[in-house]
Structure formats: C-alpha cells, structure tokens
C-alpha cells in the first residue's frame, strides 16, 4: 500500500434545510456533515464508523457528488494531478464516475426489479459507450464469474436471488467500469453472518486482484476492524478520531471511541475491569447540536471547556497518522478494546 493520497476531502459540509409553514421557509438546518476533512490513500481500505445519524453515509455520498455538498473541497488525483471535483461540469463528472463506484447496503432496493442481471451489470458499460452489445455481454459474463456467480444467472431477475447473491450483482455492477475507488455503504449489514463472511472475503480478493481502494462505511466495529487499514470515527456530523486500525483498538484517543469499543458485544462473560462501559443518553439532534464539543452531553469526562469550546482534530502525540478531536486527548487514559474484553474463563 502506498501512502499516496487518492482523494483529499477538506472542510466538507452538507446541511439539509428544514422547511416549515405554508411558504416552506427555511427554519433551520440539519448539519449532517459539518466540517469534515480526511484523505483516502491509494490502495487502502478506509473504514468509516459511527452510529446511525452521524453523517457517515452522507459523507460517502457527498464526496462523489451523489448529494451536492454545501461547502468544502474534494480533490481527486488523476494522472498525478489533483483535480477539484466539486467544480466539475457534467462531462467531467461522467468521466469521474468511471473511476469511483458505489455499493449500497440494501441489495433489495438497490437493484431494479424489472432489469435482468445482464441489463443491470451492463448498464454502466452502455452508459459509458464501452464496446458493442456482444462485447458487453462477454464482459458481463466475466464479471459474474469474478464475483462468484454463474453465467447461467445472466437472464434472471433480482427476485430470483438471495441477499448475498444480490450483493454480488451490485458488486459486479460496481466493478464493470474498472473503477479505482469503491465506496461501500453498509455493504454487508443486511446479510446473515455466513454470507457476510463470503462478501467480506470477496471484497478483499477483488482488492488485491484489481488494486482497488475502498471506503468502507459500516456501524459494526468488528467488520470495520476486519476490513480496514485506517479508520475514521464520526459523531454527529464530525470526525472525532482518525487512526490506523491498531492505534484505534489499542490506544483510543477520544472518549467516544472508548465508549464504542466498550459496547462491542464479545460473546463472553466479562469480569472486573472488562465490564461494559455504558454511555448514557442518546445522540442529540443534528438540527440542534450542543455547543462546544458535540459529545459533551454524553461524555463521562466532560469539563467546562468542553461545553464552551469546540475541539479541533489534532495529531495525537508522536503519531502523524493518529488524530483526535478532544480537549483532553493527552490527559485521559482511555481503555483499549482489550481492557474491555477481559473475560472470565473459569466457567463461573
């Protein structure tokens, strides 16, 4: 894996207006993504994790302009040059979409029920005018085999497939244009564990075969740990921590990350220090986020400064790769995942 940056997202914002009354006047904004900056490196898998409503899906969609961002810059490296995709016109955007594709969560609603597998997978090739119809069919056959389906499935329709197979169709469609970056938005969340393992393995195989870069959005920290190289943790529209996988699980630097690690079910009886850390309350509304640090309403370590001043995302001492947005990063001694998973194996 190189350390070359493929995509550089800076100060990205996405505000959705809240309209009220008969005149549909804008009465406020839901700050779904609020000033988010991160990079995706060539060949890596960047995991993005957070609870529902934290803005992770909106971020994934905004960076490829499936949703138009409110503000901020997204630079994508093409042939050694960084290009600002938020300024792209329609033609440039279409060319850009060949390089970046998306796999969605729900394989039941992301496929058109009236299109056969052949039509679904060859549609991107058709839209981008690649090859004759015959060539396209050949390519679809090849893609189906790549994702572990059979050519006999060519003329079937989505309802004839199981969830795992549908997700494979979605992956074949995403691969059709030979993209560089694939954004997987909760791509395995709707699947049974045995099938989830198949798809995770498939994604890893495809990555090494085609040198793909992934941005993997998920709420399941075990899945994120399995597939990611680096991880971005989001809370209420903001990034609270960025770290390599190792750093995040061994040495979390934001209290929210600690709380997430403490909440992961481990399937065993915990003892002593391994007791779950319970976070009180729920995520505040992104339409009316609390002042200061947005996490202070639930943070067990919150002090006065947290209620007044918003922390910035800064490097954690001695590691350029590790950033956290907390006033007390250096002072706090947070528990690692391994502290939380001390278990009692005596059978008592």
């Amino acid at each position: 894996m190189s350390t070359e940056t493929l995509m550089r997202v800076s100060n990205l914002k996405k505000y959705f207006p809240i309209r009220k009354g008969v005149l549909r006047r804008v009465a406020g904004h839901v700050k779904a993504v609020d000033d988010v900056s991160f990079q995706i490196r060539q060949g890596e898998t960047l995991g993005m994790v957070g609870e529902s409503g934290c803005g992770k899906s909106t971020t994934g969609r905004s960076i490829i302009r499936l949703i138009e961002p409110t503000a901020g810059s997204v630079k994508y490296r093409t042939a050694g040059q960084e290009e600002e995709i938020t300024h792209f016109n329609k033609t440039q955007m279409k060319a850009f979409r060949q390089r970046v594709q998306m796999v969605f969560q729900d394989p039941f609603s992301s496929l058109d029920p009236r299109m056969s597998v052949r039509d679904t997978v060859s549609e991107p090739l058709f839209v981008h005018r690649m090859g004759s119809q015959k060539e396209r069919t050949e390519q679809v056959k090849e893609l189906l085999q790549t994702v572990g389906l059979s050519v006999t499935h060519l003329n079937r329709f989505p309802h004839q497939f199981s969830g795992g197979q549908r997700q494979r169709i979605g992956i074949a469609r995403a691969l059709a244009l030979r993209p560089e970056l694939i954004i997987c938005d909760e791509a395995v969340s709707a699947l049974d564990v045995s099938v989830q393992a198949q798809i995770l393995n498939l994604l890893q195989d495809l990555q090494s075969e085609f040198g793909l870069t992934y941005m993997f959005i998920a709420h399941d920290l075990s899945v994120i740990d399995y597939i990611s190289d680096r991880i971005v943790v989001m809370y209420l529209g903001k990034i609270v921590e960025v770290a390599t996988k190792q750093q995040l699980y061994d040495n979390p630097s934001h209290p929210y990350t600690e709380a997430l690690l403490g909440a992961i079910p481990i399937g065993e009886k915990r003892v002593g220090e391994g007791k779950r850390l319970l976070l009180g309350g729920t995520v505040p509304s992104p339409a009316n986020p609390p002042p200061g640090c947005t996490f202070h309403t639930r943070c067990p370590y919150a002090a006065d400064i947290c209620r007044q001043k918003e922390p910035v995302l800064e490097s954690v001492a001695n590691s350029g790769d590790h950033q956290a947005a907390c006033h007390f990063t250096t002072e706090l001694e947070l528990k690692s995942f391994y502290d939380f998973s001390q278990v009692d194996r005596s059978g008592a």
């Binding site: 609870e51 529902s52 199981s162 795992g164 197979q165 049974d192 564990v193 045995s194 099938v195 989830q196 393992a197 198949q198 995770l200 393995n201 890893q204 709420h219 399941d220 920290l221 075990s222 899945v223 740990d225 399995y226 597939i227 699980y249 709380a259 997430l260 403490g262 909440a263 992961i264 079910p265 481990i266 399937g267 065993e268 009886k269 779950r276 319970l278 976070l279 009180g280 729920t282 995520v283 995942f337 391994y338 998973s341 194996r345 059978g347």
Partner: protein
C-alpha cells in the same frame, strides 16, 4: 420427574405453514426446556425458524396459514402444568397467560407500538386488562415502569406518542410494557438488532438487571452469536427448523461440536484476529425445498454419504450438551462402543 424449578417444556414441536409451494416446516421437531430465572438464547440465520419458535411460545403463530402441527409446549404456572398447545389461541385462558405470565418484545419497536396512542395509554391498557387496575393506579404504575427502564422525565414522557421517542427509548417503552405485569417468562425476538451498539449495550444491561430483580426467565432470540454470548446462560443453535446444537454458553463458544456452530463462530469477524474469515458456502435452504438427510449437508465441509441420506440423531456430548450430527456419532460414539 419434573424439576421443581422447571418453567417451560417444549417437546418435539412442529410448526407448519401452508403456502402455495406446499407445506413448509418452519419449526421441525424442536425440544428444549427452561427453568425459572434462566436466560436461554436461540441463535440462527434468517429462515432458521427462530422467530416462528418465539411466536409459538405465546401461541401467536399467524393463522390460518400457520399452525402447530405436532408436539407440545408445557408452561408451569406456579407448579401446575398448563399445556399451552391445547389452549385455544384466541381463548380466554391463553389471553390470561399472555401479558400476565408471559410477555414478548419484538425487534422493531416502531411497528409494535400503536402510533395513535400515547406510550402511557399503551402501558396502562395492559395493566387495566390484566391487573384490573383503575386509571389512576395504572398511570402511576406506567410512570414507575418507565422510570425503571431508564426513560428520563417519565411523568412527562408518559403523555408522548411513539414518534416522539428515539429507537432506544421506544425499545425501553416496549420493555416497560412487557414487564409491567412482572411476567415469569419474557420472549425477546431480536430486541437489540435495530439499535446502535451503545444503545444495544444499555438495553442488554437493563434486561439483565430487571431479570435479576423479578427472577424472570428470558428466551432471547438473535442472529448475533456475540450478543447471545453476552446474555444467555444456555444457547440453542437452530438451522432450517432444527435444533442442531444445544449447550451451556461456555461449551458453545469453547467446545462447539456441530459443523454449523463451528462455521458460524469462524465466520464472525473478531477484533484483533487477522486471519481470513471462514465463510459457509451456499446459503440456508428454502424451507420448501429441503435436502434429504441432514439439512446442513450441502454446505457442510464434513458431510458424508450417510449425512446426505439420513436425518441425524441427537447425540449427547455431556450433560446438557447435545448435537444433531452423524459426524459426532462416527467420531465419538462409535469409538467408545
């Protein structure tokens, strides 16, 4: 013959659905028992029959398509055996048990709460019906219950409607409703699946705490082995309507015997473990097109001709640990006899 602590006994239960594709067996000869205060977890993938099993416990199998075709569920009401499967599902006796003696919580709290009644009215209905409380007392009790499950400002929120509650709060309200008559058995069908992990941790902790308080037995159904491992004393693994393995929690995790249980454990990503996930090839068979012999044989790495031909028997590994697999018989039982 029966243990003094016994609460529920399920014997050879079979639940069938009549569909256009013919008769399907959602639950196929399931037997297990539960003691008072015990937590039993049922785990399995979608379509394994775990939800139908949970509905059958309260005679809630959707009719007329579904019905209990064979077997029995015996519930011990203060030591007196009541055969639930003999009761009329809509009859007075069954309705007196539901809510009062046994209660249920579902996965999606939004669809199981009525959007046009306040949370308070919905909890009060249960209390008026089963405990014959008047409005004032029922309301008092509803507020008490909401406080108990950790809903802040309960006195005020009792007047609110379900849409004003967040997902975690709705699940708390559901739990408050289910526990308002202090049932002896709670059937929880994927109660935390729709929730975020921090909220899931809160709800699991809450359930465990309330369970200790009123010594209630919980039948906890989930697709997530790790969640089951957090809460259950005993684990039942289901596959295509069968119980394929049953054991104490430690045995399931440390000494799994059925190839399906082993595969499930190997298929879960675990933090810090770097090796490739073991995936189970294929998928759960459709209940209307079950293979002959062992239902797991087509996906089983260790399947033999016998597995493809004959339904496996249930073998005892040790006390309380059973497995439905011919391989176990080949390896262990034959060796010793």
């Amino acid at each position: 013959m029966t243990e003094p602590n016994r609460l529920v006994e399920v014997n050879d239960l079979e639940v069938v659905f009549d569909t256009v594709e013919g008769r399907t067996h959602a639950v196929n000869g399931v037997s297990f028992s539960m003691d008072a205060g015990e937590t039993v977890g049922i785990v399995g993938e979608s379509g394994c029959g775990k939800s139908v099993m949970s509905l059958a416990m309260l005679q809630l199998v959707p009719r007329p398509h579904g019905k209990i075709a064979r077997g029995s569920i015996i519930y011990y009401q203060r030591g007196k055996a009541v055969e639930i499967t003999k009761l009329n599902p809509t009859g007075k006796a069954m309705r007196a048990l539901r809510g009062n003696e046994m209660a249920m919580i579902f996965q999606e709290p939004m669809t199981s709460l009525n959007p046009v009644y306040t949370i308070g009215e919905q909890i009060m209905e249960v209390l008026r019906l089963h405990q014959k409380m008047d409005n004032t007392r029922a309301k008092q009790r509803a507020i008490e219950m909401l406080e108990k499950v950790g809903v802040p400002d309960a006195a005020q929120r009792v007047e609110e409607y379900p849409h004003q509650f967040s997902g975690g709060m709705r699940q708390r309200a559901m739990i408050a409703m289910a526990l308002s008559c202090t049932p002896n058995l709670l059937v929880a069908d994927e109660p935390t699946t729709a929730l975020d992990v921090t909220i899931e941790a809160q709800i699991l902790e809450l359930l465990a705490e309330l369970q200790r308080d009123i010594n209630m037995a919980v039948l906890f159904i989930s697709h997530d082995l790790k969640v089951i491992g957090e809460i259950a004393d005993r684990v039942i693994v289901m596959y295509a309507g069968w119980v394929v393995e049953e054991a104490m929690r430690e045995d399931i995790f440390q000494n799994p015997q059925h190839p399906y249980t082993r595969s499930l454990l190997a298929a879960i990503p675990r933090i810090g473990r770097r090796e490739r996930l073991v995936s189970i090839p294929g998928r759960v068979p459709s209940l209307s097109q079950l293979p002959p012999g062992c239902f797991f044989a087509p996906r089983c790495p260790a399947a033999t001709d016998q597995c493809r031909r004959e339904e496996p028997q249930v073998f005892t590994v040790n006390q309380g640990h059973t497995v439905k697999c011919w391989n176990y018989w080949d390896k262990e039982v034959q060796k010793t006899s």
